[in-house]
Symmetry: C2
Subunit: 141 residues, 2 copies
């Protein structure tokens, strides 16, 4: 028997990758309206979502280790190719998000109704990541 967590842990950092960080800054900060809390040149943009963070990293720079004199050494990472994230549509709802995305010129790539009745819409961020908005009942949340 191993020590069991009393409850499953909560994700507090969700990461996606983009080589053009200025472009994704406009998408996540503008079209999605997330507050940007940290911007480091060619390395990353950090945004605050509800209850956790959404990080956009440039995979060309995140694999480079910090210089030896740096105070903090974070293990390297960096992925290439389109990732995926899903946001809850609660609040504005699917229609509210469709309206807001249209105002920002973001095209809906797909609309899905799942077997349990939950609806999703899918768009692409400027880096090609697949960004979904779903009714949270999709996972019984």
């Amino acid at each position: 028997m191993t020590s069991a967590p009393a409850a499953p842990p909560r994700v507090i950092e969700t990461c996606l990758y983009a080589q053009d960080l200025d472009a994704v800054e406009g998408f996540y900060g503008g079209a999605l309206g997330l507050e940007m809390i940290q911007s480091v040149a060619d390395r990353h943009r950090f945004f605050r979502a509800d209850g956790g963070m959404v990080f956009l990293f440039n995979p060309l720079t995140t694999p480079i280790p910090a210089p030896p004199e740096a105070k903090i050494h974070v293990p390297p990472h960096g992925a290439h190719g389109p990732g995926h994230v899903c946001f809850s549509s609660e609040g504005p709802g699917i229609e509210g998000w469709e309206a807001r995305l249209a105002e920002h010129g973001v095209e809906i790539e797909a609309r899905v109704t799942w077997p349990n009745g939950a609806r999703s819409i899918y768009v692409r961020d400027p880096a090609g990541n697949s960004v979904e908005f779903a009714e949270p009942k999709i996972w019984g949340i």
Copy 2:
């Protein structure tokens, strides 16, 4: 002026990629103790975390579109190379997670204390993704 969401949206699906899904199933389901709620052969393993889902996708199969007769068509995605996720350490705490990970033979790659005093530990999942456990005060959560 565009229609503004009343509050920032919440992430309900955080995705990572792994070609060996059985190996990551043991890590997320075993060492991390997450409940697996869906398993589709060579395509994906879905796990339930607190307040949202953690999805492991095989990037060799997710880019393949569903056959034309499929009822649901989800936009393709699929990333290669190490991604990153961070879980809150609340509950067991950093020491509790260190103990549990050690019992499962998972080596700590790095320990970091951030300028605001929050502590993080980093491990690798079997696919090489960087998995962090952090005290949630790291982001004022």
